[in-house]
């Protein structure tokens, strides 16, 4: 119950705890033993998040050292990591491969998808074993999120973490992206990143569909609520395109009586404007969001 102000590292670790990053697997690979704090009574290994954070920093430094970000490939065969990987690539300028890795992409120069990256980032050494094998042949250093039971062969920087849960994977990629951008100087240190973690989480296709269906009824509300004299066009504009906006723009606009069946949703904008016009960015999936993520 820290009531004092938390440092960046401590905040991150709180976030990781709520995303269950620290929960490893029931087995432990011998090379991952150094990152394990303890084994719980039900067999689950607990990962030392302090070490995870430091490994994340190390990985971020390596990523920043590559001058051309296009030479980095982020990959995930598993569906849980695909959204995270795509967004990570978008924000850091890397190249992402989601889904099946065609064997020979790094080794067969005659293939159309042939590429020679300078760095490879993977979500799971076990499911993404094919790119690991190929990068070994092509002198490509590899960073991977390793669970306690992940094989570490040919993985150069292993970040100990839970790579089985969707919250965990999303959280890790978000943290890594933020660290990279901070180190590059694109985001100033100390300030919160406007991009939300939720963007990196995997959405089930049904969940995604529900989300879109919720957005539809909200749009007509706009028309109903707004008498012309009350609102100026400047206040109106930022909201206009917001229905499908991914990042919730924090508008200072206050709606009159609670417009928001949607406004009661669980996302929190940072500076907590009193009641934001509710239709803004329902692009956030209803996360079973534990608190502590402001």
């Amino acid at each position: 119950m820290a009531t004092r102000v938390l440092s960046q590292k401590e905040e991150d670790i709180q976030m990781m705890l709520s995303a269950a990053v620290h929960l490893g697997a029931r087995n432990c690979d011998f090379q991952m033993e150094r990152y394990v704090y303890k084994r719980r009574s039900d067999g689950v290994h607990i990962i030392n998040l302090g070490k995870t954070w430091e490994k994340l920093q190390l990985a971020a430094r390596v990523i920043v050292a590559i001058e051309n970000p296009q030479d980095i490939i982020v990959q995930s065969a598993r569906p849980y990591g695909q959204r995270a990987v795509l967004n990570f690539a978008q924000y850091t300028g890397a190249y992402s491969i989601a889904g099946r890795h065609t064997p020979g992409t790094f080794t067969n120069q005659l293939q159309t998808s042939f590429s020679e990256p300078r760095l490879l980032i993977l979500t799971d050494p076990r499911t993404d074993h094919q790119p690991i094998k190929e990068s070994a042949l092509g002198n490509i250093p590899t960073i991977a999120f390793c669970d306690t039971d992940s094989p570490m062969r040919y993985v150069d920087i292993g970040i100990p973490a839970n790579n089985k849960g969707k919250l965990s994977i999303g959280c890790l990629f978000w943290l890594l992206a933020r660290m990279v951008l901070q180190m590059r100087g694109t985001i100033p240190l100390g300030r919160k990143w406007e991009v939300m973690v939720d963007l990196f989480f995997y959405r089930d296709p049904e969940e995604a569909k529900e989300q879109e269906e919720e957005e539809a009824p909200v749009a007509p509300d706009y028309g109903a609520m707004v008498p012309n004299d009350q609102w100026t066009t400047e206040q109106w504009m930022p909201d206009g395109g917001a229905v499908s906006a991914v990042e919730p723009p924090v508008t200072g606009v206050e709606s009159t009586a609670g417009q928001a069946p949607v406004g009661a949703e669980r996302w929190d904008a940072a500076a907590a404007p009193p009641m934001v016009a509710g239709a803004v960015a329902p692009g956030v999936p209803p996360v079973a969001a534990p608190s502590g993520w402001e």
């Binding site: 001058e67 051309n68 030479d71 120069q109 020679e116 300078r118 042949l137």
Partner: protein, 275 residues
């Protein structure tokens, strides 16, 4: 240097697949190599469009010697790289054409396996093995594979360090199948004391004096030649006291020339796929 073998091993000796991937330049116009190259068709030689990063760097002239490639253990996938860097100094020789057969219900299906050794007689050798339905195709393919597998050979002295290195730096041995080939440093003037087959390879490597000893079924030329090749690979893998000093690491050429490499080559690629 020791790692180079690992990256390259896949290329030589397995024959199929890789050698075929000639970039559609058609007939190379090279005859059966009994040493040297014929004139060849000038304009076809110029049209190399590199696919790999290394290829691009070599074409631009940023990489001037093979040693830079060896230093960073970069896999060589395009034989034109070796051509550009070693150019006219490279000689090739067909060691053997071996007909191999497979039984089908309509008789035997014969293919020809060509063993080609390539080298400038100054520290670089390559060995290529290729099997194809026609002899000429096999030889062509084997030459390409041999170029891809070019390896640096370390030479040393037998006794006093006068003049240029002339022999193997130490006793080394290579093995392939049942054949083991052992090379022992020899004094100047001894010449290459070896059987016909390894003698050829050692000549191409630029070793002037050496004593050899072999064991196993040296009749199998394939294994014999591969064993000497492996032996030569090991010359740079052997840690001698001159390597005891700490290495100063250089930037990999991919890092150094990253700006050049990041320039898009899309236009060239499209052109290539159309042709």
């Amino acid at each position: 240097m020791a790692e180079r073998g690992g990256g390259d091993r896949g290329g030589f000796g397995r024959g199929f697949g890789r050698g075929r991937g000639d970039r559609g330049r058609g007939d190379r116009g090279r005859g059966r190599g009994r040493g040297g190259r014929r004139g060849g068709r000038r304009d076809e030689e110029e049209k190399w469009v590199p696919v790999t990063k290394l290829g691009r760097l070599v074409k631009e002239g940023k990489i001037t010697s093979l040693e830079q490639i060896y230093l960073h253990s970069l896999p060589v996938k395009e034989h034109q790289i070796i051509d550009t860097l070693l150019g006219g100094r490279l000689k090739d020789e067909v060691m053997k054409i071996m007909p191999v057969q497979k039984q089908t219900r309509a008789g035997q299906r014969t293919r020809f396996k060509a063993f080609v050794v390539v080298g400038d007689t100054d520290g670089h050798v390559g060995l290529g093995v290729k099997c194809a339905k026609e002899v000429a195709t096999a030889i062509r393919g084997a030459i390409i594979l041999a170029k891809l597998s070019v390896i640096p050979v370390r030479r040393g002295y037998w006794g006093n360090k006068i003049g240029k290195p002339h022999t193997v730096p130490c006793k080394i041995t290579g093995k392939c199948g049942s054949v083991t080939v052992r090379m022992v440093p020899a004094p100047r003037g001894a010449g290459i004391v070896a059987a016909r087959v390894p003698k050829k390879v050692l000549q191409f490597a630029g070793i002037e004096d050496v004593f050899t000893s072999s064991r196993g079924s040296t009749k199998t030329l394939g294994n014999f030649v591969k064993a000497t090749f492996e032996c030569l690979m090991k010359t740079y893998g052997f840690l001698t006291p001159d390597f005891w000093t700490e290495t100063r690491f250089n930037k990999s050429p991919f890092q150094e020339y990253t700006d050049l490499l990041s320039k898009p080559t899309k236009a060239i690629l499209i052109e290539n796929t159309e042709s």
